[in-house]
């Protein structure tokens, strides 16, 4: 604020010149598409003929006749509610191991982090599908230990397909691990030393010191990962194409099908609107609940 007073007056011309790219980009690539999204959601539009206004029909269709919509919603919620907590718990566990001041931390961190940097790629998705396929390495390893390799493909079996993808998400625990590790390093050793003097055991130290002090980091991870989890697409398309029996029909995959395979842009837009609502409500809930469980240290 003092800077502003000292500098006496705005530099409107220069200021707007610097942020001009943002103003153009925001308008063209976010604001206009955003407004258009709500318009198209109320139309029937196949990209070739002009859009026709259908009122609430798309939304009525979602909740009354479209069973796949509900299926995709269920699949995505199940995936987000299992994969994200598992990934975060695993990441925290590993981060605590690496924080024990052991040797080779750098080496371990590198090994654990590599799956995260390439995990979103098509190459890894294709590989994962073959790893868990009928004759893949996973069945091979099971055969090695039990004598007979299972005669099923993990990705073609409706009961295990989604779990295979959840496992893939947990396998990419690297980036939350590094964020947790940084958070753990910020907790002063003196806290733990004091707790030991008071006779606290390892479990108490974790629950009373580590966890509360990490809650801001956990909150951040939770919000980012939940939003990201709802956008899951590549794995579903490449590894299982939404199957078997729609058990891996992720929401975004369903939007893609409606929009780009059936050219039902109006319906795809309506689906996107509803996804926006879900993500917004969930984010708001997490933030709202945070006052109850997130512990902010007073700066002083």
């Amino acid at each position: 604020m003092t800077q502003k007073a000292v500098r006496a007056g705005y530099e409107n011309g220069t200021g707007y010149l610097f942020i001009l790219p943002w103003i153009i980009g925001f308008t063209a690539f976010t604001l206009i598409p955003f407004v258009a999204l709500f318009y198209f959601a109320f139309t029937d539009y196949d990209l070739l003929s002009s859009p026709g206004w259908v009122g609430l029909d798309n939304f009525i269709r979602m909740f009354t006749v479209d069973e796949k919509f509900l299926t995709s919603l269920k699949v995505t919620f199940f995936y987000v509610l299992t994969a994200i907590p598992l990934r975060l718990i695993f990441a925290l566990f590993i981060a605590m191991l690496l924080n024990m001041k052991i040797r080779f931390v750098g080496l371990y961190r590198t090994a654990f982090y590599i799956p995260s940097i390439i995990g979103g790629s098509v190459a890894v998705a294709v590989m994962w599908g073959q790893l868990f396929g009928l004759n893949g390495a996973v069945n091979g390893i099971i055969g090695l230990f039990t004598g007979t390799s299972p005669n099923t493909s993990w990705i073609a079996n409706p009961d295990t397909a989604l779990w295979t993808l959840i496992l893939m998400a947990v396998w990419q625990f690297g980036s939350p691990m590094i964020i947790f590790l940084a958070g753990l390093k910020n907790i002063p050793d003196s806290y733990y030393e004091a707790a030991v003097v008071d006779g606290a055991n390892g479990f108490h130290r974790f629950v009373k010191i580590t966890l509360p002090l990490l809650t801001p980091v956990i909150l951040f991870n939770l919000v980012m990962q939940i939003i990201g989890g709802f956008m899951t697409f590549t794995q579903g398309l490449i590894i299982t194409s939404g199957g078997p029996l729609d058990r891996t029909l992720f929401y975004q995959l369903y939007v893609y099908r409606q929009g780009f395979e059936f050219l039902d842009m109006g319906y795809a837009a309506a689906l996107s609107c509803f996804l926006l609502l879900i993500v917004a409500v969930l984010t708001a809930l997490v933030f709202k609940s945070s006052s109850a469980w997130v512990h902010y240290e007073s700066k002083g």
């Binding site: 705005y10 220069t14 200021g15 707007y16 610097f18 942020i19 790219p21 943002w22 103003i23 980009g25 063209a28 976010t30 206009i32 598409p33 258009a36 999204l37 198209f40 990209l47 590993i94 024990m100 371990y108 090994a111 654990f112 982090y113 590599i114 799956p115 940097i117 390439i118 979103g120 790629s121 098509v122 190459a123 890894v124 294709v126 994962w128 599908g129 004759n135 893949g136 390495a137 069945n139 091979g140 390893i141 055969g143 396998w171 980036s175 590094i178 964020i179 940084a182 030991v196 980091v217 991870n221 956008m231 697409f233 490449i238 893609y256 929009g259 780009f260 837009a269 996107s272 996804l275």
Partner: protein, 282 residues
């Protein structure tokens, strides 16, 4: 605090656990590379084995031929063109915008900054349908433009990252440069830009990863094999209906992962620092 033997035993356990998780983390990748060196007929015979019976680089040659008369050379070239343009565009636009927000007072700044923060929370995938319709209407489908041009107009995430970094630079440096007769752009170019180099490197690395992995955008905008990027090409290459040559598939998948892994090893320090300080998602 703990008796020494007990301490050693617990350290050993930690190392064993770490080693085990390390093996599980890397096994799939090593398996992929090993499979690329196996003969195609051997990939799924004793599939778990990591050592090919005979080292065979033939799959790299047959894989490179690609499909529809287009080699993986083209797919690599397309990917590199898009990724380099996106990274360059992001760095130029975001550093200018971030400087504007960080240092220059102007009317309605709060409002425009709020649009950055809102965009940050809005997942880009939500507006993909209307974006596609717009790009379709202006004839950009089947060109690289929808994938490249938006990067030149700033990305909320990297604007925020660079802004946070610029805020740590003392204002006195700007003032001194101003007294020396530097214009606003001069201050930006001569004073700020050299000082935010670490943040620029971090931004470049993460934008590189996201652009290299970008599958959805390439899938919907690039409809002709001559335009395919690696991710779209690999997907078609692995089409279950066309009797995939799996060792060739794994060979090309391996090649496509070399640049990201190389970047990781060269810039590891920046990546770890970048994630720790900004909470970037890798």
């Amino acid at each position: 605090m703990m008796p020494n033997t007990q301490k050693n035993a617990s350290r050993l356990t930690v190392h064993l656990v770490c080693l085990l998780i390390g093996i599980v983390s890397l096994y799939p990748l090593v398996w992929m590379v090993a499979s690329s060196l196996k003969e195609s007929s051997q990939v799924f015979v004793s599939a778990h084995s990591l050592i090919p019976t005979s080292w065979d680089f033939g799959s790299y040659i047959s894989g490179w031929r690609g499909f529809a008369g287009i080699t993986f050379g083209t797919f690599f070239k397309n990917t590199v063109i898009i990724v380099c343009s996106v990274v360059a565009g992001t760095l130029v636009s975001c550093s200018l915008i971030a400087y504007g927000f960080a240092r220059i007072p102007f009317r309605l700044k709060g409002f425009w900054f709020a649009t950055v923060m809102l965009t940050l929370l809005l997942p880009g995938q939500i507006v993909q349908i209307p974006q596609y319709i717009i790009f379709y209407k202006i004839g950009w489908v089947n060109t690289f433009l929808p994938l490249i041009v938006p990067a030149f107009f700033g990305s909320a995430f990297f604007i925020f990252l660079l802004l946070q970094f610029i805020r740590t630079i003392p204002y006195e440096l700007d003032e001194a440069a101003k007294i020396d007769g530097c214009s606003r752009f001069g201050i930006f170019y001569r004073v700020i830009l050299p000082l935010i180099k670490p943040a620029l490197v971090t931004a470049a690395i993460f934008e590189f990863y996201w652009a290299w992995d970008n599958f959805f955008g390439a899938l919907i905008y690039l409809g002709r094999p001559q335009l395919y990027t690696l991710s779209v090409a690999l997907r078609l290459f692995a089409d279950p209906s066309s009797g995939t040559d799996w060792s060739a598939m794994f060979a090309m998948a391996t090649l496509s992962l070399i640049p990201p892994i190389l970047v990781f090893f060269i810039f590891q320090r920046y990546i770890v620092e970048g994630i720790s300080t900004t909470g970037l998602k890798g």
